[in-house]
């Protein structure tokens, strides 16, 4: 991407550049002391885990585990594999609540994981993105407890409003399974945006909506078909077939290394409406459409600027 349409270049961060800056900061004169400091950190973390001396919030978010173990594990995927570039992170507030609404794609919700990583690692306030997940996520063993520990919660009105009222950054992917599981030929075509529940939550709490457009995630697992009976067997919404999966088995589960862009758009304010606005369906539909259109147009613009799926 040559021109970051509308945004100044200073607002762009690339995964590679951030990694270089960090590496430069770490190779100081005191490598020995640094090594010891890190060992102390690891040992203290291990002790906290073994004795249960850490805090978990009401949603089940375990920030100790997330910050010290899970987020660092994602760094290679973000920086080296997908080489994610972010635009407009300054549109994300540093202290107050906001609702991030993004397009969903890629068969496996890596787009959500990468967006969460971007907000935590590249926003100056290092905030956690608290995402709203589908019912299925919280029914599956392992996945459900991992989702809760990393700060995710069930996509429902009460939870969204509670998080927003507490001033958290909330992420929502309103297309749901229709978006993430759509066939490869429909890539970058936004699906229906649920029932607009996320707009009601933003209106009730008067928090701004930030449209987020993700380019690159559509190509990681090109879904060219599905196996119905396996999906029924496992109780999943779909069982994907990609050019490499299930043909190559576990090897087919490696995502293709597409180049990613995540653009955080201008916030859409919701505090200028009346108190009863959340209960006005027409207003909610209109706002939902506005958010959807903004994301769709940004996607088209980002796509015209992209020259190659893998090189960017």
């Amino acid at each position: 991407m040559r021109t970051a349409g509308g945004h100044d270049a200073g607002d762009r961060t690339t995964g590679n550049r951030a990694a270089e800056e960090r590496a430069a900061g770490e190779t100081g004169p005191s490598t020995g002391a640094d090594w010891e400091r890190r060992l102390a950190g690891v040992l203290a973390f291990a002790r906290r885990r073994l004795t249960g001396e850490y805090q978990v919030d009401e949603f089940g978010f375990d920030s100790d585990l997330t910050d010290n173990m899970l987020i660092p594990a994602l760094r290679p995927l973000y920086e080296k594999w997908f080489r994610v570039e972010t635009v407009g992170l300054s549109n994300v507030p540093s202290a107050s609540g906001a609702l991030l609404v993004a397009n969903h794609s890629g068969t496996v919700p890596l787009d959500a994981v990468m967006t969460g990583f971007a907000v935590h690692e590249h926003h100056p306030a290092r905030r956690h993105l608290r995402m709203l997940g589908a019912d299925l996520v919280f029914q599956l063993p392992m996945i459900s407890s991992l989702a809760r520990k990393t700060g995710q919660t069930l996509a429902c009105g009460p939870d969204a409003e509670r998080l927003l009222r507490e001033g958290e950054l909330v992420g929502v992917w309103p297309e749901g399974f229709k978006g993430i599981g759509k066939p490869f030929k429909d890539r970058y075509k936004l699906q229906r945006f649920g029932r607009g529940g996320f707009v009601s939550a933003a209106l009730r709490t008067a928090t701004p909506i930030i449209p987020v457009s993700i380019v690159g995630a559509e190509e990681i697992y090109p879904k060219i078909g599905e196996i119905r009976f396996l999906a029924r067997l496992f109780g999943l919404p779909y069982f994907p077939v990609t050019p490499f999966f299930p043909l190559l088995g576990p090897l087919g589960m490696v995502p293709l290394p597409s180049k990613w862009y995540i653009e955080f758009g201008e916030p859409i304010p919701t505090d200028e409406f009346d108190a009863g606005a959340a209960d006005d369906p027409m207003l909610v539909f209109n706002l939902t459409d506005q958010v959807r259109e903004t994301i769709q147009q940004t996607l088209y613009r980002l796509l015209t600027q992209r020259r190659n799926v893998f090189m960017g």
Partner: protein, 347 residues
Amino acid sequence: MTPNVVLVTGVSRFLGGHLAARLAANSAIERVIGVDTVPPPRDLLRRMGRAEFVRADIRNPLVTKVIAGAKVDTVVHTSITANPAGPAGRVVMKEMNVIGTMQLLAACQRSPRVGKLVVKSTSAVYGASSRDPAMFTEDMAPKDLPPGGYAKDAVEIEGYIRGFSRRRPDVGVTTLRFANFIGPRIDTVLTRYFALPVVPTVLGYDARVQLLHSDDALAVVERAVLHELPGTYNVGGDGVLLLSQAIRRAGRIGVAVPSMAVPFLSQLVRSTRLVDFSPDQVRFLNFGRVVDTTKLKRDFGFTPRWTTATAFDDYVSGRALRPVLDPDRLAAAERGILDLAARLPIR
């Protein structure tokens, strides 16, 4: 208005017995009558002081006579229990819970002097499922109606209580939906569970557990008796512990059991009489449950002194559970490794 004559059901159990003792120590209250099917343990009876114990089954019309004869004006119903007494177990428990409450409410409805009813309910009325919101407020209904056991009893009991307050709108009814009790002195399914040498959990699930210290529970019921605070309130400590975290804090070793093996295992544990696992408790251990206590703090005017974590730590130290992994030894090992690292010639 301070009550004159208080009737407390379930006095041979922790909450009822200690409540009767506290009320008996309050000289503004004329008479405290405790009712239960079995006499309280001797030390509890001694604590209860001037409170009178009447051995009666609340399923029996005798309770009606006690309420009318003693001019009871406040009824505290604490005998609803999740802990089946003895091996006869659940059928008797359900009888006591549901039929007992119906009889008691019938007696209260007959007696014009009764002006206040305080009921110990449970947050189990919200059920436990994967589709639950993170925190329940008082106006929410369960996503899946509890299929059986204690939770179903509690839902039915609350239904009868709503019916009662429709028929007797002059009676102030306080319904307290308690989170699971914990503390060094109380004996519940959960306190026995965490005292198991090896603690079984369900593989792939880690419940959010909210606890309430038994002292806070007592203080809440006492406040409801002494003040006019009708309504339904969630009662629970601040904050949550994950089940795995609680097991680690207790120094126990958790063993994850595949969910397919859970029914078999819970049968096995039940037959040892150590812990009585019912399906609704297993669901609780899967998904957990957290209630919002804003209304308790704002309207009821009570903030629990213990958080979930401090209450749990008090239980662990009070029970003298010997940790398998000693935190002090772990800290010593950590210092040892760091000392060693400092002496290594790598710099």
